[in-house]
C-alpha cells in the first residue's frame, strides 16, 4: 500500500537545479525492532540534509510500507514515530539519485521501556517529594559517559515512574529531606535536632549508599524494571563558609559531592553577599565547594574541598581573579574564515566552551575558569586546526594550561583539510548503517543507504580506517576498544587538500 503524501509540504520542496522535482523515490517499511512485524500507522518524516527546513511526511500502511515520490536528487534523513513506540531514525543518510536503490529502506521502531519504584524511609513510610535522578550511559564523541536523562519527584505513595525509555544502561540516584525537617523553619533549635536537622543520605541503584557500589540497571527494549529504595535519615550539620574577599559582592556557591564517576552530585546552590555563608543541613561526606563572583568587569573563582563529620564546621575559600582569553583565527590561504567557524575549548570534564568569531575573525572571553584545555574547531567541517600559539598561558603538548589571573592571547591557524570518502561493502555489496571509524582524531560516522561515507577537514598525515557492521555501541575514542580492528584497518596518507577514495570491507 502506498502511503499518503502530504501535498502541502510537497510543494515546498523545490527542484534541484534545473531538474524538475519528481525524478526519484524513497520507499520502505517500518518494522517493530523486537518482533520484526510491520508497524502500521507510523508517521514517517523525510528531511532533506542539504535543506533542513524541507520535510515531507507520510503514514505507513497496514503492511508497514511507506513511499515518497517525486524527490529531487539528494541526501535525506528518515525518521518514524508511532504512538506507543519510541521514535527512530534511519542509521546514516538515504541517498536518492541515479542508480540508487532506495525502494526498501527499513526503519525499526523499538518498544519503550519503563523504570519505576518506590522510595520508603527507615520506618517503611513512603517518602514524598524525594528526588529521583536518572542517568544514562551514552557514547559521546566515542567516549562512554553518563548524562542526565530525566528526574522526577516521588508522589504521595513514594512512587516514581520513568517511561518512554530506550534500551540502555541506566543509573539512579535518590536524595531528599524528610518532610518533618521543615519544622526547623518554625522552631529553630528548640525542636530535637534529630527531627529538624536531618537529611536522607544519597542512595544509588541497587539501593546502596556507596557510589562505588552503584550498578547500572540494564534495561531491554519494552522492559518494565523496578528499582526500590530505602532512604535513611542522618544528622546534618552547618558548614560556615568564610570568604573574606569582595565583601560587597554577591558570591554564587555550588556544593558538590563525588557521586558516580564523572558525575558529581549537585548538593546545594546559593548566593550570599558578605564574608559568611551558612551551608546548613549538610550531611557527612566529602565535598567540593566552588565560589564565583563578579563586579561586572572582573570575575573571581575560588574552590575548596573538605570532609564533613558530625559537628558544625568552618571552611574558608579564597578567590582568584579569573583568567581572560582572546585571540584570532587566520586561514592558511589568507582568506577570512567562514562566520560559522567556532573555536572550542574542551575542559577536563569533557564539556566545551564555544567561542564565536566576530567579523574580524577575533574571539574573546572575559573570564574562564583556570585549568587545562584542549583547543578545537567546530561549525565548518572542511577546516582543521593547523597550528596554535599562546601567549600568557603554558602549552603542554596539545593542552593549554590557563593559570589564574592570566590574560591569554591565542593565535590559531586553520586550513581547509583533506577528504577521504568511499563505500563500505559486505560480500561485495554496499552496506548501509555500518560504523566507519577514522583514527587518529576519533571520528566516526554511519555509512549511508548506498554504503557511502565521507570525512572532511582532515589534517595531512596518516590515518587508519575501518568499518564495523553493528558499531552503535563501539567506544571508538577508547584506544583499547578499537585495537582489535586496527590490524585489518585500511591505511591512508593524505596530503594537504587531497581527496582520496577508499573502499572498506566491513570488519569480521
Amino acid at each position: 500500500m502506498i502511503a499518503l503524501l502530504v501535498g502541502g509540504l510537497m510543494a515546498a520542496l523545490p527542484a534541484a537545479g534545473a531538474q524538475a522535482a519528481g525524478a526519484y523515490g524513497i520507499a520502505g517499511v517500518v518494522l517493530n525492532a523486537a518482533s520484526g512485524q510491520p508497524v502500521a500507522g507510523a508517521r514517517v518524516t523525510l528531511a532533506s540534509v542539504e535543506r533542513r527546513d524541507q520535510r515531507l511526511s507520510a503514514v505507513s500502511g497496514d503492511d508497514g510500507r511507506f513511499a515518497f515520490k517525486g524527490l529531487p536528487q539528494g541526501k535525506y534523513e528518515l525518521s518514524g514515530q508511532r504512538r506507543g513506540l519510541l521514535a527512530g531514525n534511519s542509521t546514516g543518510m538515504v541517498v536518492a539519485g541515479p542508480g540508487q536503490n532506495t525502494d526498501n529502506i527499513v526503519l525499526r521502531l523499538s518498544q519503550p521501556a519503563v523504570i519505576s519504584g518506590k522510595v520508603v524511609d527507615d520506618a517503611g513510610e513512603p517518602v514524598t517529594l524525594a528526588l529521583v535522578e536518572l542517568l544514562v550511559s551514552r557514547l559521546i564523541d566515542g567516549h562512554r559517559s553518563l548524562i542526565e536523562a530525566a528526574s522526577k519527584r516521588t508522589d504521595d505513595t513514594g512512587g516514581y515512574r520513568f517511561s518512554g525509555l530506550p534500551a540502555g544502561s541506566y543509573y539512579l540516584i535518590v536524595s531528599g529531606v524528610p518532610w518533618y525537617a521543615k519544622f526547623n523553619e518554625m522552631l529553630g533549635d528548640s525542636a530535637p535536632r534529630s527531627m529538624t536537622h536531618t537529611g536522607y543520605a544519597i542512595r544509588y541503584h541497587p539501593n546502596v549508599g556507596d557510589p562505588g557500589a552503584a550498578e547500572p540497571l540494564i534495561l531491554k527494549a519494552g522492559q518494565e524494571a523496578t528499582a526500590n529504595f530505602t532512604v535513611l535519615p542522618v544528622p546534618a550539620v552547618s558548614v560556615y563558609v568564610h570568604c573574606e574577599q569582595g565583601e560587597s559582592l554577591t558570591k554564587q556557591y555550588t556544593l558538590t559531592t563525588a557521586g558516580l564517576p564523572g558525575n558529581p552530585v549537585h548538593v546545594r546552590e546559593g548566593s550570599e553577599t558578605g564574608d559568611l555563608y551558612n551551608l546548613w543541613d549538610v550531611l557527612p561526606g566529602h565535598y567540593t565547594l566552588r565560589a564565583e563572583t563578579t563586579d561586572g568587569s572582573h570575575t573571581w573563582y575560588g574552590t575548596d574541598e573538605f570532609d564533613v563529620a558530625a559537628a558544625d564546621m568552618d571552611v574558608s575559600v579564597s578567590l582568584h581573579e579569573a583568567p581572560s582569553l582572546s585571540g584570532t583565527v587566520v586561514l592558511e590561504n589568507g582568506e577570512s574564515p567562514p562566520a560559522q567557524l567556532t573555536v572550542r575549548l574542551y575542559g577536563e570534564s569533557g564539556r566545551s566552551q564555544p567561542l564565536a568569531l566576530d567579523s574580524g575573525a577575533r574571539f574573546s572571553i572575559p573570564a574562564i575558569p583556570p585549568g587545562r584545555y584542549r583547543i578545537g574547531l567546530s561549525g565548518a567541517d572542511e577546516f582543521y586546526l593547523r597550528s596554535w600559539f599562546a601567549e600568557g598561558g603554558r602549552r603542554e603538548g596539545e593542552m593549554l594550561d590557563i593559570p589564574a589571573g592570566a590574560a591569554v592571547r591565542l593565535n590559531l591557524s586553520a586550513a581547509k583539510g583533506a577528504r577521504i570518502s568511499g563505500t563500505v561493502n559486505r560480500d561485495g555489496q554496499p552496506l548501509p548503517g555500518a560504523l566507519v571509524v577514522l583514527t587518529p582524531g576519533n571520528r566516526a560516522m554511519p555509512s549511508n543507504s548506498d554504503g557511502s561515507y565521507e570525512f572532511r577537514g582532515l589534517a595531512p598525515g596518516e590515518y587508519a580506517l575501518f568499518a564495523v557492521e553493528d558499531g552503535a555501541d563501539l567506544e571508538y575514542a577508547n584506544p583499547a576498544a578499537i585495537r582489535p580492528y586496527l590490524g585489518s584497518a585500511k591505511k591512508a596518507r593524505v596530503a594537504p587538500g587531497s581527496s582520496d577514495n577508499l573502499r572498506l570491507d566491513v570488519a569480521k
Binding site: D156, T157, Y180, E185, D189, S190, A191, T196, N278
Partner: protein
C-alpha cells in the same frame, strides 16, 4: 533546603524572644502525652509530627507522643502528617495530661485512566479536578488540580479535600505528545458529558480513593496561528482558547514574547473564543475573536482594546412619594458572564448622590449586571439597545466608549415580612425572593434571622426559598435546581406599597 539564610535568621530571633519568657526557676513542670489517630479509621498514625510551642516530636509506631518539662499553662498541640489535614487541640496542663487524642482527617486520592476509542491509553492528557461555588445564584467552577496522564494513560491526584467536584479531561500537557501528528480530543467531563450543564459531580469522601476513568475520541486537530495587534514585548501577556462557556480548551499555546506571534496546537474541532490579554491594572488590553475550528487558521490578528469606564445613572421614578429620599443609594456590580472563574474579580461601584456611577477598568467581554438599591427596586434599566431587566447581561464591545446604563428606581415597592420556622437552632440561614417574571435584577437575597423585613420589593409574584448552611448552597438561577426545590417554595404576591407576611421553612442546604 530551599530557604534563604536571611529568613532563617529571622526565625532564630523569634525563637530567642520566645525562650526568654517561660524560664522561671522552681516552677512545677508537667507533661502532655497522647496519640494521633486517623479520624476515619481510628488507626494510630506513626511518624506524625506533633508540635507545641517551641517543641516538636514524631509519634512512635503506636502513634503516641510525649512532651515534658512544661510549665503549667495552656498549650496548642498540633498534629500533622502528609496525606492528612493538620489539626490541633488546646490543652491545659497543671496537672499533666496523658490522654490527648489528635484526630487527623485523611485527605483523599482521585485516580483514573484515560483511554481512546480503541481502549489504548492516552498519554499526556490533562485531567482537571474542578471545584464549584455559587455566586449570585449561579454555579461557577474553578480548576483546583490539573495533572497529566502517564504512559499507561493513568493519572493520580493526591491530597484532595473531601467534597463535591467535577472531573474533566481536556488538552495536553505542554505540547501534544507528538505535535506533528496533531491529534486532539474534545474535552469531556467524567461520565461522558461534554458540557458542564449536563455533567454530574463526583463526591470525594474523606480518606477514600475515587477512581474516575475517561474515554476520549482522538480526532485530527487544527492549529491556530496569529499575532496580537499592537503587541508590546515588555508587558505580561496571556492567550487563552476558550470554549462556549468560557472553559479552557486545554490546547497548548506558544507565544513568541518578542513579536506577539502565537500558535495554538492540537485544537479539537469545535467553536472557540480566542482571548488575548496584555498588560496590568488599568493599562490592560484585551482582544477576543470567535474562531470556529474546522480547518487550520493561518494568520489571525487579534485586535486589542483597552479597558473602558462604564458610566450610568439611576433616576428616581417620578411616581414615587415626595417624602421618600430623592438620592438613590445603589450598588452596581458587573461579573464576568462565563461559568468558569476567571482571574477577573467582579467590578463594583456605588451611586453618587446625583445617582451617577462609574465602573472603572472594564475590559471588553460579556458581563452580568447586578443592581441593588436601598428602599427601592429597578423599574427599568437599559444600556443603549439592551434591556438589562430582560436579559441581565451586557456586552462591552472593544474599542469604543460604551453607552451609559440608564436605570429607573421605583420607591413604590411593597414590603415582605419573612418569618423563619425551624424546629431547632438552624445556624446561619438565607432567604431569596425570586420573581415569577424571571427578572433577576428584581430578586432579593438576604441573611435570615428569625424575622426579617424586605422592603422596596417590586410589585409582582414571587417564590421565596430559605435554607441553612452555606449561602452558596442554593443555585437559584438554575431553573432545574429551582424545580428540584419547588416543594419548599412559598408563593407571595406583592402589590404597590402593600405589606405581606410569609413564613418560610428552613431546609438544610443542598448542593444539588
Amino acid at each position: 533546603m530551599p530557604s534563604h539564610p536571611a529568613v532563617r535568621r529571622v526565625w532564630f530571633a523569634v525563637a530567642v524572644v520566645m525562650f526568654a519568657a517561660p524560664s522561671l526557676a522552681d516552677e512545677p513542670e508537667f507533661c502532655v502525652a497522647g496519640t494521633v489517630l486517623n479520624a476515619v479509621t481510628g488507626e494510630p498514625l506513626r511518624r506524625a509530627a506533633v508540635t507545641i510551642p517551641q517543641s516538636a516530636a514524631l509519634t512512635d509506631a503506636a502513634g503516641t507522643f510525649r512532651f515534658c518539662q512544661l510549665p503549667a499553662g495552656a498549650y496548642y498541640a498540633n498534629g500533622e502528617k502528609p496525606g492528612f489535614v493538620a489539626s490541633g487541640s488546646r490543652v491545659v496542663v497543671g496537672p499533666s495530661r496523658e490522654d490527648l487524642i489528635l484526630r487527623l482527617q485523611p485527605l483523599s486520592v482521585v485516580t483514573g485512566k484515560v483511554v481512546d476509542e480503541a481502549g489504548e491509553p492516552v498519554q499526556s492528557a490533562l485531567v482537571q479536578l474542578l471545584s464549584t461555588l455559587v455566586a449570585d445564584g449561579r454555579r461557577k467552577v474553578r480548576a483546583e488540580f490539573v495533572v497529566a496522564t502517564d504512559d499507561r494513560g493513568e493519572y493520580r491526584l493526591a491530597d484532595v479535600t473531601a467534597g463535591p467536584y467535577f472531573l474533566r479531561a481536556a488538552g495536553w500537557e505542554g505540547a501534544a505528545p507528538d505535535p506533528d501528528a496533531n491529534e486532539a480530543f474534545a474535552p469531556v467531563y467524567y461520565g461522558g458529558a461534554t458540557e458542564l450543564a449536563s455533567a454530574s459531580p463526583v463526591t470525594v469522601e474523606p480518606g477514600r480513593d475515587l477512581q474516575a476513568d475517561f474515554s476520549v475520541s482522538l480526532r485530527t486537530a487544527y492549529r491556530i496561528r496569529g499575532a496580537i495587534a499592537g503587541f508590546s514585548p515588555l508587558l505580561p501577556t496571556k492567550i487563552e482558547l476558550l470554549g462556549a462557556g468560557g472553559e479552557p480548551s486545554g490546547a497548548p499555546v506558544t507565544l513568541d514574547t518578542a513579536t506577539g506571534a502565537f500558535q495554538v496546537d492540537s485544537v479539537a474541532p469545535g467553536s472557540y473564543t480566542l482571548r488575548a490579554t496584555q498588560g496590568e491594572g488599568r493599562e490592560r488590553k484585551r482582544g477576543e475573536l470567535a474562531l470556529p475550528a474546522s480547518a487550520d487558521v493561518k494568520a489571525v490578528v487579534v485586535p486589542m482594546a483597552g479597558s473602558v469606564v462604564v458610566r450610568g445613572i439611576v433616576r428616581v421614578a417620578a411616581s414615587s412619594e415626595p417624602a421618600s429620599p430623592s438620592s438613590p443609594n445603589c450598588a452596581i456590580k458587573l461579573s464576568p458572564a462565563e461559568d468558569w472563574i476567571s482571574a477577573e474579580d467582579p467590578l463594583e461601584a456605588s451611586t453618587e448622590p446625583s445617582g451617577e456611577f462609574a465602573i472603572e477598568d472594564v475590559l471588553p467581554g460579556r458581563y452580568r449586571v447586578g443592581m441593588d438599591c436601598a428602599n427601592g427596586y429597578i423599574a427599568a434599566a437599559r444600556m443603549g439597545e439592551t434591556d438589562l431587566l430582560a436579559s441581565g447581561e451586557l456586552r462591552i464591545a472593544p474599542g469604543a466608549a460604551p453607552p451609559p446604563i440608564e436605570a429607573m428606581l421605583a420607591l413604590d415597592g411593597g414590603t415582605v415580612d419573612v418569618t423563619a420556622s425551624a424546629e431547632s437552632d438552624p445556624g446561619p440561614a438565607w432567604v431569596v425572593l425570586l420573581p415569577a417574571s424571571g427578572n433577576e435584577l428584581r430578586s432579593r437575597f438576604a441573611r435570615l434571622s428569625s424575622k426579617i423585613v424586605l422592603s422596596g420589593v417590586a410589585p409582582g409574584d414571587y417564590q421565596a426559598y430559605a435554607w441553612t448552611g452555606a449561602a452558596e448552597a442554593f443555585e437559584y438561577a438554575n431553573p432545574d435546581v429551582r424545580q428540584a426545590w419547588a416543594g419548599r417554595a412559598v408563593s407571595v404576591h406583592v402589590g404597590e406599597r402593600d405589606r405581606q407576611s410569609i413564613t418560610v421553612r428552613i431546609a438544610a442546604g443542598e448542593t444539588q
